[in-house]
Symmetry: C2
């Protein structure tokens, strides 16, 4: 019963704009909201509301009395505005609301506070802050907030579907409703070159991953939440991998690698029209047309006055730190950028988080870059326009500029990495261990030839369709998919005794844009991590088999698409893991698209010395689907090596190509990714 009561908190995520006294969910459960809890507008209507909704309510949840919290500051963000975790004003407001929820004495009080706040504050803000509170309160473990894309479908699905969904729910009885199909090309056409990879940028799994990553790794909250193991380094590595993956995807689509955005005075040729409408604000996410130029910001309402020159100053100081080998803290003290920990410091500086040793000096380069880009259409708010998709973690990966911006961020990290000592053979090799063969094979396919195709999957919108009739209404979207496959790896252990190794699997294109073989210094930035796992090696021949679905970078397909309400992770610490469990690259995009003629890649497998890799910690019961991208909750990052190892540094002298880089514990296999331009309906 106690568990049931806690689960009632989840009703607060249903139809976030509908007041709490309106019956929720298929079971028509409503909160029994006392008059004093009602927002001003509804106070005067008390009995009328009772007669309007009383009958439709099948169950009422009663609320305990509470001292009404002071929401004056929090309500400076209006109910019908959009909400951005990039904006310091919004960050502060969110922190205040989180504190209110964290301070509740028990679940009953939390529930009352939730109802009181929910019908007053901005719905996006509420869902964010309430989710964070549920994640961090000891007494709400096991209460799993529903899929963000279902609560706010307007951040994930093109606006055009909502009129159709309204017609479907209003006219057609539940059960007979047809999914509303989103065409694969809805935001642009292939006349726009950048659109060729829109299927990837606008993928629901990609954007959910990014939202969850930043929920797990907030930049500004209590220190206990922010200060996670190697979080600065993970900021570098996860985004580094996003850029590598994006670049591979671009090559598959006959596009050149993304051009970093570093010349702030030059026009931005990439336009982007997101076709997203905020249902909360009834306002569109503004577009960016071609050839706009970054402008100084002076937006009173957002409390931002900042020149583009500030970005340039921060950037120059960060380069100064890289080239001098230390950052300067608030007291002018030098913090050396050491070989293994320097990247973590630099990540905190660049992102920047409250862990940055000197935000006054190094600023907020990454975050404000997003803000500048998100306001390029209305830098002084004269047009009363909101931020574009670049200003929202949930939407920013849709925009080609996300990648140009993060390519620059990555470039700065690589500039630093180039200053580090290069790995010598001893640091790469695993004496006595030889990888003899490597292959990847899909069911019923030739070895080393994997097929990709289009798949249609359905997502239920109804939880986010405020003020519409009840019952499911599905949207049908088309996304890339690959056939499941298996890695087969044979390893010889000539050491004469059992050994443990870390098997690291990467993939990179074999040729560059010109069709030429790569220089290693370029190809190393094209390697995308596919998997990483511990292997026990008996003496002699070992055969390792590993399935693509076991990948350490992805979450299972179902977790992206299913209603998480009914698919919650099991285990005693379920909720605590919730956001972790939903952080992770979508399995359906583990591989790049390939090409119809067969895209030639190099599959790289390395078995490293586990003694040098391992972290001593108990990892049982921890949600670790996507540890490579998201770490482990409340644990250390489960690999002692620098993230990206062995490709994170410049190669040793004499290594010009991948073959020269290899030590016996590494192996490369050519493989082909072939895209079949057909669409398959997913079986539910």
């Amino acid at each position: 019963m106690a568990t049931d009561k806690k689960q009632n908190l989840l009703y607060l995520f249903h139809r976030p704009q509908e007041p709490s006294f309106v019956p929720k969910g298929e079971n028509a459960v409503a909160f029994d909201v006392p008059a004093k809890f009602l927002p001003e507008r509804y106070k005067q209507l008390g009995t009328q509301l009772e007669s309007r909704f009383g009958e439709a309510t099948s169950q009422k949840i009663s609320l305990v009395d509470i001292k009404e919290p002071n929401l004056t500051n929090i309500m400076r963000l209006g109910r019908h505005e959009n909400f951005s975790l990039f904006l310091p004003k919004h960050q502060n407001i969110a922190a205040e609301l989180i504190n209110i929820f964290m301070a509740a004495k028990n679940v009953d009080e939390l529930q009352s506070l939730g109802v009181y706040c929910r019908d007053r504050v901005n719905p996006y803000l509420f869902v964010y802050a309430f989710s964070v509170a549920l994640l961090h309160r000891p007494d709400t473990q096991g209460v799993n907030p529903p899929n963000f894309a279902q609560t706010f479908p307007d951040k994930y699905f093109q606006s055009g579907i909502f009129a159709k969904a309204r017609e479907e729910t209003s006219v057609v009885p539940t059960g007979s409703r047809m999914p509303i199909e989103i065409p694969r090309d809805y935001s642009a056409s292939d006349l726009d070159e950048e659109h060729r990879v829109a299927y990837w940028r606008e993928d629901i799994g990609v954007n959910l991953h990014h939202w969850h990553w930043h929920l797990v790794y907030p930049t500004n909250a209590a220190m206990s939440i922010v200060n996670k193991d190697r979080r600065g380094e993970l900021f570098y590595y996860m985004h580094n991998q996003l850029i590598a993956r994006y670049n591979v995807e671009r090559l598959c689509n006959k596009l050149k690698r993304v051009v970093k955005y570093s010349e702030f005075e030059k026009p931005i040729k990439e336009a982007y029209f997101p076709k997203l409408d905020s249902l909360v604000s009834s306002r569109t996410y503004p577009a960016r047309v071609s050839n706009q130029v970054l402008q100084n910001l002076n937006r009173q309402q957002d409390e931002i006055v900042m020149d583009v020159a500030a970005l340039e100053r921060w950037r120059d100081r960060i380069f100064g730190a890289i080239h001098s080998g230390f950052v300067m803290d608030r007291d002018g003290k030098q913090i050396p950028l050491t070989e293994n920990e320097g990247i973590d410091v630099l990540g905190n500086v660049l992102e920047s988080t409250i862990l940055s040793p000197n935000p006054d000096f190094y600023g907020n380069f990454h975050g404000m870059g997003h803000v500048f880009l998100s306001y390029i259409h209305d830098p002084d708010h004269r047009h009363l326009e909101n931020f574009g998709v670049m200003g929202d973690f949930a939407t920013t990966m849709r925009d080609p500029m996300f990648y140009r911006w993060h390519s620059y961020i990555d470039d700065i990290f690589l500039e630093y990495k180039a200053t580090l000592p290069r790995y010598n053979v001893g640091q790469l090799n695993y004496t006595g261990i030889t990888v003899d063969s490597v292959s990847m094979q899909g069911e019923g396919s030739k070895p080393n030839e994997i097929n990709t195709f289009w798949q249609q999957s359905d997502v239920d919108l109804s939880r986010g369709m405020d003020f519409q009739p009840r019952g499911s209404v599905f949207v049908r979207l088309t996304h890339l998919q690959h056939q499941p496959y298996t890695y087969n790896i044979t390893v010889n252990n000539a050491s004469g005794s059992p050994k443990m190794g870390m098997c690291r699997i990467f993939l990179a294109p074999k040729f560059d844009e010109r069709g030429n073989p790569w220089l290693f210094r370029d190809q190393k930035s094209m390697f995308i991590e596919l998997d990483k796992f511990k292997v026990n090696l008996k003496a002699g021949k070992n055969t390792i088999t590993r399935m693509s679905t076991q990948s350490s970078v992805t979450i299972p397909f179902e977790r992206t698409f299913s209603d998480l309400d009914t698919n919650r992770p099991t285990g005693g610490d379920a909720l605590a893991q919730f956001n972790f469990c939903n952080c992770g690259w979508p399995q359906h995009l583990l591989l790049p698209k390939g090409t119809p003629e067969g895209y030639v890649c190099q599959l790289f497998v390395m078995v490293s010395n586990y003694d040098l890799d391992k972290i001593d910690q108990d990892e049982t019961g921890v949600c670790n689907d996507a540890a490579s991208f998201c770490g482990l909750k409340d644990k250390k990052y489960p690999d002692r090596r620098s993230m990206g190892y062995p490709f994170d540094r410049m190669p040793r002298n004499g290594v010009d190509n991948l073959q020269q880089f290899l030590t016996p514990n590494m192996r490369v296999q050519d493989c082909i990714i072939r895209h079949n331009n057909r669409t398959i309906r997913r079986k539910n």
Copy 2:
């Protein structure tokens, strides 16, 4: 009963996206739609729909069987697209649908055709085409389509209100609903200079007038509809007056007169973010950011491939016609631009309509200018974006570029007017008639000092809120208003016998932007027509009193704001007059805003010789509220003079200022328009 049956046609305008079998209006009347009429999607659901909506229906309208029309071509415009009468493709589709409705044998057949088409074709298109048919069919006279702003509120009210209206209708019972207030400044702030006159550009009355004017004067339809008396000249004059009025409004707001848009290769500094969302397409009207440049169009879907150079060629040929005194018809024959009729020919050429004598040669300068500007953000459709507000008669007057574009159009007309013989004293004077004094006076105010202020009025949105609960929900908007006032004019008739005169009342600012008195050649373009009416002058002293509400350019306030369903014009020919009756400048904007310190204007009154003005026709029973702007339905324009007389030509030699221009039958009076920055709630 026959009348009642006809009125059922009006249910087709209720909630244009909701299928015809869904009960309509407060009385829950639904069409009894036979299975074969149902769109494909609903055919399979027949009995389910019956059980879902049967109970809620209180009255069913049965339909006669018809041969199903072929909608293949018409449905090339998708149900969820936007519709533009500027686009030739859409014009042709509309014409085809109008023909279907016109060909119905009787009202019963029309009703069946209406239902059949309504649930299949684009809703905007349907409402337009069905309105035109009702207006022109003899058997549907007396059936008055409802206010367009209520059927499609998304074209008139900022998108932000619809989320609020959904909450209000879903949560609050009818009767307790509060109006949703639209702030006066919602599309921009005064940081944007152009925004100072946004209250005027975005006025609902202004935009409804413009929509109705173009409904009354379509450019492309059956010749009998298009070929109205002096329609080309009226195109010139009505838009000329719009520009004059806009310029006066700008001066009141410390803005310079609008700069014509004639240099197509230069960036357009005026940005505009309309904040309008199409509810039909769930898509926003795209914005124009600063400094965009006109681009060649290549939009396959709209069937438009055209270079900016085409605009320039047409423009140069039109100037060629002006400076050579003739246009060339399709056969190469010269049509002289005569003193009185030339302007009408030129109007047809410039607009252009099917009356243009040579569209292949002179093109479609005005219309394509709108199209080019409306697609400036996505000229080749690579971003799958729709047209901006410039592409829609219902919304174009919101955009500052409307005025820059029409200022250029006007300039071309004035270039032509400058070639005409100047009025000599004999053509201006009315021998024996002297205007002795002139004044305008508001109730309880000093003479020649009129107050303006802000007023709030409510408009019911519910008819356009598809898929929402029934019952009124109001939007409250703030618009300019002036106190009602009276003209007092004393005229001496020294001729010794009764005379008839045409009293022409104009107003212009007394000073230019610099605060200097005007040269007549400039001031003449600043005179806005306030009224024009016939007067009987007995011999000797005459006192003429005329109320501001009688103006020949305006329609009554109530007609802009009220539900036209319940306020239909009376009289035997009611519907035929419907669109005419709703064409007209909104009374609440008869006067410019003035300034807080008192804006000094010159009131100009002229009594001209009616013998030279009059048109012999029976005007009884004709809706003539705004004849100066809209003409009279099926009649001649009720003034034989050139439109704009006496200000439509360059002045005779020796006339440098207004005083020198005056003949005894004219009089000028300084007056003050004072703006009070307070807001008054309109009493319903």
